[in-house]
């Protein structure tokens, strides 16, 4: 194994002057436990090879061992920064297997909670990115706002991180009294915060120079490597599952009628399309859009049940289903094969962070050590989502 890695980074020549650096697994900016085997020539990278698997918990295998409803809390652990989407994807897959649909209010709550969590996840992403570039203050400002979202989500489902909010056929709890107004109040504050955040860091000259034109991923290459979500849109590819392959609430005609929004796409805001700055700023724009979506959805929140009629014992007919959702880290899909029993025959999660890791090896040659940090941060990888 070691030899293989050495050959991959081109260190099988004993007389080379390059240095091999183990960038991780315990490193402040690898966002969890990821290892990068980095070959450097001074400050310039020859290559950085990601070495994943330090956080593997065999969640997919667990999914084949527990009954369908029992797997829901495990999905939280697939992506604990934006657990709502990991819930939603699984719920969607099983609902498709059962051929049921959640009631409208549940769909609305899924969309609202999802957009709030998207904001929270993007706040962590842009904040840690600023921190990796060396600015500590924006990160804590982001965390401060996320704290309010955590409070709101806690009111909704009792959890602040691993929500376990979705159920097969709906959501676990209805919104409590006054929640709607509190969220709207937060969104008013948040829109002003975004302007301040841009002034604090997004338009900082040093920050722009650190990110613009760095680690450019062209759109075609992004598609080849299967990048998804903000990373793909940052490369200028206009693709968002919520609009292009609508699911759940996004597929409801009345929801689409009441909630108007747009998909921000990277156009080279400060440099080349697909550079680190695009991937960063696309997230700032998405937070703005998410706030807009959540506001409109809250204003048109219908009354009614939050759970569909679901059989007590969930035992779908044999078959297979794919639940794809647009997570904060891009497309998150659960592929479930059912053999007619209470447990899945095969469960597979497709996550955005895993494919994002693949492109690092291709993009890294010629970057500097500091740029590698920016690249990892701009891809917004979350270690549990890579390994599952």
């Amino acid at each position: 194994m070691e030899k293989l890695i050495l050959r991959r980074v081109g260190m099988d020549h004993p007389d080379s002057e390059e240095m091999i650096l183990n960038f991780g697994p315990q490193h402040p900016s690898t966002h969890g436990v990821i290892n990068f085997i980095v070959e450097t020539d001074g400050e310039v990278l020859k290559k950085a090879v990601p070495d994943v698997g330090y956080l593997h918990r065999s969640i997919e295998k667990i999914g084949e061992g527990v009954a369908y409803p029992g797997f829901m809390p495990y999905t939280d652990r697939v992506d604990y920064v934006a657990a709502m989407f990991a819930n939603e994807g699984y719920a969607l897959a099983i609902e498709r297997l059962l051929k049921i649909d959640a009631p409208p209010r549940a769909h609305w709550l899924r969309a609202i909670s999802g957009e709030l969590v998207r904001i929270a996840s993007h706040l962590v992403s842009v904040g840690t990115m600023a921190m990796d570039i060396g600015a500590f203050t924006p990160m804590l400002h982001g965390i401060r706002e996320r704290e309010t979202i955590n409070d709101l989500i806690e009111e909704l489902c009792g959890a602040r991180l691993t929500y376990n909010y979705h159920r097969i056929g709906g959501v676990a709890f209805d919104a409590p009294n006054g929640w709607r107004d509190r969220v709207l109040k937060f969104l008013d504050h948040f829109d002003a915060f975004l302007v301040e955040f841009d002034r604090l860091i997004s338009f900082n000259e040093i920050y722009i120079r650190r990110l613009a034109n760095v680690a450019v991923i062209p759109g075609a290459l992004a598609i080849d490597y299967g990048l998804v979500g903000p990373n793909l849109r940052g490369s200028g590819v206009d693709w968002d599952l919520r609009r292009d392959l609508p699911y759940g609430p996004w597929a409801l005609p009345e929801f689409r009628e009441k909630v108007k929004w747009s998909v921000p796409v990277g156009t080279g805001f400060m440099g080349t399309p697909g550079d680190c700055y695009d991937r960063y700023y696309i997230r700032c724009l998405e937070m703005k859009e998410s706030s807009r979506i959540a506001r409109q959805a809250l204003e048109s929140l219908p009354e009614g049940e939050v759970m569909a009629k679901v059989p007590r014992k969930i035992k779908p007919e044999a078959g297979e289903a794919l639940g794809r959702v647009e997570s904060a880290r891009g497309e998150l899909a659960y592929y479930v094969v059912c053999d007619g029993t209470e447990k899945a025959y095969r469960l597979r999660a497709r996550t955005g962070s895993f494919t994002a890791m693949g492109i690092i090896e291709d993009i890294s040659p010629g970057l500097m050590v500091a740029d590698l940090v920016a690249l990892i941060a701009s891809l917004d990888v979350v270690a549990p989502e890579i390994d599952r």
């Binding site: 401060r144 500097m368 500091a370």
Partner: protein, 463 residues
């Protein structure tokens, strides 16, 4: 929630939220400790001069200084006491700077910050220091033992020696060397030797990266810093710290910063270079946490780590004090020219009380200006991101060095102009101070607008 319960759960970092005894104790020590140190410097630095000791031998001991056998011993003893006081001053100022920086940064970042040890967490630096001293002094097996052990002392020496030529007040300086500023540049360069040794001897790749970055950075930025320092030297016609201050006046329009358009540029170049030499954000590349883990400090622990840390924060005072000396009028007290100092000092051996009072005022002026610049450095650190290695080099060689040279030549021409047109100096002073005030007013107005736009209340507390 009742008011009492709200108060109980109130975790806001208000200093008044502590019991009165803790507040008073913290205030007493927090003000008393620096006051005692300043008082020691105040008393010792004029008294430990050779002519004062000669006077002591002549008047008190009744001996002839030329033939008194213990004269050299007395000289040595006085210097040792002064050195002890100064190195303690450096260490304690460094600790308090840590507290200050952490409080200011927590205010900037909407977090609670230090609030456990003493009122406002003031004694956190003592607790941290004690903790570090109790830790195991770990030396990696593969490290170069000797250099690894020695390098913190290089750093500390480079830091401690600066206090020899650092002024505190009108007559308050350990040694007013006639090459004062040159000496300061020379000894601060020792710090980079220590950092480079630390990086090399740790036998860690991260530490090596940090050491190399530090060497490249400090050596590069010494050039623009050196040229920028030449500008006040040219204007004062002396390398001595006290003479540079004496060439300026107490009012802003008499400071070197404003009396010459080129020195404004020089100040900026000097300030940026000092940030780089002190490894402060945006130039904290050698210890860039998100890139190099902890850079050259990666393998250090315990006392050796504490020494590095002490120097890093203590250097803030040194940086700020040098900037104040060169550009911001130093200890000059309004309405107190050199004649007043000479008059109050009298001709006898021991100066009168009025002279001592004036010394205290000059010391206070100098300390306040230094704290202001120090605070500026803290604000910069918690505002800006870090620049990249190549950008750091580009900034130095493509921008700062040419600007410093231009300012240097402009100052030469300016000095020639001043001989012909002496009125240019006050006119520029007033004009530049006015322009700065206008810019500051606009800045404050824009800041207020921005805060109002975000729906926040304007809160001017610094911590």
């Amino acid at each position: 929630m009742t008011a009492a319960a709200a108060k109980k759960h109130d975790r806001t970092p208000r200093i008044g939220a502590n019991p009165r005894g803790v507040v008073l104790g913290t205030l007493a020590i927090g003000l008393g400790l620096p006051s005692a140190l300043f008082a020691a410097v105040l008393v010792l630095s004029p008294v430990t001069k050779p002519f004062m000791i000669d006077a002591f031998i002549r008047n008190v001991l009744g001996q002839d200084p030329a033939t008194f056998g213990y004269r050299n011993l007395l000289y040595g003893l006085s210097v040792a006491i002064l050195a002890f006081v100064l190195i303690n001053f450096g260490a304690i100022v460094s600790g308090m700077t840590v507290w200050w920086e952490m409080r200011v940064s927590s205010r900037m970042q909407s977090r609670v910050g230090y609030n456990r040890v003493g009122a406002g967490g003031f004694f956190q630096w003592v607790a941290d220091a004690v903790k570090l001293l109790l830790k195991e002094d770990l030396i990696p097996a593969e490290a170069d033992q000797l250099l690894f052990r020695a390098s913190p002392y290089f750093v500390l020496t480079g830091f401690a020696l600066t206090f020899v030529a650092l002024p505190f007040g009108e007559s308050l300086i350990a040694a007013d060397l006639n090459v004062g500023i040159f000496y300061l540049i020379a000894v601060t360069a020792l710090v980079v030797v220590g950092i480079l040794l630390a990086g090399w001897s740790s036998n860690s790749k991260w530490a090596l990266f940090g050491g190399m970055r530090s060497a490249a950075q400090v050596i590069s930025y010494e050039i623009p810093a050196g040229i920028a320092i030449m500008i006040p030297v040219l204007m004062a016609g002396s390398l001595s710290m006290q003479d540079i201050i004496r060439a300026q006046g107490p009012w802003p329009w008499q400071w070197f910063l404003f009396t010459n358009p080129a020195s404004l540029v020089a100040f900026l170049v000097f300030f940026i270079s000092q940030l780089a030499e002190g490894n402060r954000t945006p130039f904290d590349l050698p210890e860039a946490e998100s890139e190099l883990v902890a850079g050259y400090l990666s393998e250090y622990s315990s006392f050796r780590f504490a020494l590095f840390f002490l120097v890093e924060f203590g250097n803030l005072w040194v940086m700020a004090a040098i900037a104040v000396t060169l550009f911001l009028g130093g200890w000059q007290v309004p309405f107190a020219g050199p004649e007043l100092f000479a008059e109050l000092k009298g001709t006898g051996g021991m100066p009168g009380l009025g002279w001592w009072a004036l010394q205290i005022v000059s010391m206070g002026v100098f300390a306040l200006k230094t704290l202001f610049v120090l605070n500026l450095i803290v604000w910069v650190r918690w505002t800006l991101p870090r620049i990249r290695v190549d950008q750091m080099m580009v900034l130095c060689w493509k921008y700062l060095v040419p600007f410093a040279f231009v300012a240097f030549v402009a100052t030469l021409l300016w000095q020639i102009l001043l001989v012909q047109v002496p009125v240019a100096r006050p006119v520029t002073g007033f004009a530049l101070v006015g322009a700065t005030a206008v810019v500051a007013a606009f800045f404050i107005r824009q800041t207020r607008r921005n805060i109002a736009a975000a729906g926040d209340r304007v809160d001017l507390t610094n911590w």
